[in-house]
Subunit: 417 residues, 2 copies
């Protein structure tokens, strides 16, 4: 993409009320735009990161046999009254509105209840189960404070998956497989080494829920971490009894700040019983459907990646989520520009996403923007390239560039000889 | 996809209050699910149609040089007060809600105003323009009545594009190119021959806006159509003066029912002037930014396709938007099933989307579901296939099947020898 054609512009003006590092960097780099506190639009480069993350998550959810669907934002009151979760004193983050005839409606912040109602109409028999579905959906949550940039917004993109099982054993098996799929997601987006399964509060249903926490200096949570076992305990449930129960040794634990990048809930038969959602088993008996749910905040994950990978010069995207693999700069007159055009077309033909900085600004500004945007490779073509056929290529975190032939350059970016 | 694994089930139970053909068929076929009046979830097969349509639209918008971004659903009151469109008596379809601190917020039903505010921060100079951006975004509109299924919902998916131009000429050129891109979209989704550029009311700004109307028996609109010129006039602006102005002959016009599948608005410099969004031109003068906007209701388009292509047995998807190319049925015991598994794997390896009906139900039910779902090709493998190597293949609208070799079958579905 030629930078003159995409709507993207780095800026030095960050809203004065914006404290979160992720938001400050992403706004400066032209990835997001602040509409209101906790409400951000995704500019073209930001949307590319979101789409890259979605692609990875989608592959992993599909590998579990889950099907993608799309639930609605508008929610009927009746569905949520069944479990008491319509009540603002039970769930204090609802946005609510009204139809023209005065009927109250809610804006979806999660989808357990509507999916249980839906499933009750499609899955009547043991033959119809198990079912697992997921969606990428914009959630609205009326947070009192919204100071963490895209890490806790009032409007955010979530991948939520729901599994409907016939019994606890079937649920537990899917739960374990999902946990592994989640860990693969974090690995693929670059957060693998820093992300830990963490025991957290289970709410009303079970003793624990499980979270995935990424260790990061500005994390909102405090966790007690056993590096060797790759397990952690959220401070909200941290006590001696819990440590004993989980077989963790107090002496081996580090206290660190971390950000939640996913959570999974085992509702067991509770929702089925509460909502009267039953199926007929092999013996003809009515049994409650078992529910588990699995969430990854996609935009939140982008925020955590931004918080985790950056330096003074700007963002540093892991290759699998970067909005482009290379940032291409020509320094010189027409012949240099022609050669750069050629390289741009060649790389594009190979399917490499390239940001071609074709603006009429000085090279220093282009270098600074390449770093600020955090693109993995910076490529420079100049008059020397014409004489010796060598292209300058520099990794985002390298100090010095290398000079390589066009063939070597293509190989570096594509892995293809 | 094996039908046992995807969450999709045809049903005979259509909500009693559902009159629209598109909704009745799509609910019966398991493509959508009614959450509330005018609010539908997209089940896996329905979401595939949506994604196929999005892919086509995305390609055509990219071909215009437009960049994809994603604006927010939550909207600040201040932005819309500038043009007076916050007022419920001016725009009567707002859903509104409140932050915890009492601040009113709206739920986006269109995005001209927020984009003008955003652009004012990024495009200060003629060098920063023209810009065109688009998004696929879930819009909420508080319609009084919602009786047209997914053709006019309270929550729906829209592709909206906005072009920011430096003058009327630049705007007009983009407008014309966009019109052609829109016509290519309708052609590619199968509605080309039935879809016409239609003059409609221009609201407060211009005499006319332009719509794209698809002729269809249950259309909500009435248009006066000149087949030869491929032009139409919406009844809302139909009169002798208008006909004269457009050079249309009353005698040559047919009166037909049609459904709007897109509309484009030429705001000229109006919004720029209203909102004080100016840029500095080459001569250093302040000029208003010119705005045009371009909408296609993606879910609405799916509804119109469903209304347009169906018969007594169910839906008939055009190949480019069909959720799968083939519906695969095995009739017979283990050896037949093995052969069917083999064919399924082969087609999947070729990248053909196949629905494999692996349910334990009688063939008649599978045939009926293949038709109801409207999958372009139905393939049957039975004991004869084992003896003579011939596979049964039938087009959705054909009366009789053909019998072909595996090689011919693959070629038919892939175009590859």
């Amino acid at each position: 993409m030629r930078i003159s054609q995409i709507f993207s512009k780095t800026t030095k003006n960050v809203p004065t009320d914006e404290q979160a590092i992720n938001a400050r960097l992403l706004i400066r780099a032209g990835f997001i735009y602040k509409e209101m506190a906790g409400v951000y639009a995704y500019l073209p480069l930001g949307l590319r990161v979101i789409e890259n993350i979605k692609k990875i998550i989608r592959q992993e959810m599909n590998s579990l046999g889950a099907s993608e669907l799309l639930m609605t934002s508008l929610q009927p009151k009746e569905t949520w009254e069944i479990t008491g979760r319509w009540n603002d004193s039970v769930v204090d983050i609802w946005f609510k509105s009204k139809l023209k005839n005065g009927t109250e409606v809610g804006l979806g912040w999660s989808h357990e209840e509507p999916l249980m109602v839906m499933i009750s109409k499609y899955a009547k028999s043991y033959r119809d189960l198990p079912i697992s579905v997921y969606q990428f959906q914009t959630k609205l949550r009326n947070e009192v404070r919204a100071k963490s940039g895209i890490m806790r917004g009032r409007e955010f993109l979530m991948k939520d998956m729901y599994a409907f099982s016939r019994n606890q054993k079937e649920l537990d098996e899917f739960y374990e497989r999902s946990k592994q799929a989640y860990l693969r997601v974090y690995k693929r987006v670059g957060l693998g080494p820093y992300t830990y399964v963490t025991f957290a509060s289970g709410g009303a249903f079970t003793q624990f829920s499980q979270e995935f926490q990424t260790v990061t200096p500005n994390g909102e949570d405090v966790i007690y971490l056993d590096q060797a076992k790759r397990l952690a305990v959220n401070e909200e449930v941290y006590n001696d009894d819990v440590l004993n129960q989980l077989g963790l040794d107090k002496q081996a634990l580090q206290t660190v700040k971390a950000s939640e990048v996913g959570n999974i809930f085992n509702f067991g038969s509770l929702k089925g019983e509460q909502m009267g959602v039953y199926f007929t088993d092999e013996a003809g008996r009515q049994q409650p459907i078992f529910l588990s749910s699995y969430g990854i905040g996609v935009s939140r994950l982008m925020g955590v990646i931004a918080e985790h990978f950056n330096d003074k010069a700007g963002l540093i995207w892991p290759k699998e989520v970067a909005p482009a693999m290379a940032y291409l700069i020509a320094i010189g007159d027409r012949p240099v520009q022609n050669l750069t055009d050629e390289l741009y077309n060649l790389l594009t033909d190979y399917g490499v996403a390239v940001i071609y900085d074709d603006r009429d600004v000085r090279p220093g500004e282009k270098f600074a923007d390449a770093d600020l945007m955090g693109i993995p490779w910076r490529i420079v073509v100049n008059s020397k390239t014409i004489t010796n056929g060598q292209y300058e290529i520099k990794g985002r975190t390298e100090d010095l560039p290398e000079f390589v032939s066009k063939e070597a350059l293509v190989k570096r970016l594509t892995g293809v000889d």
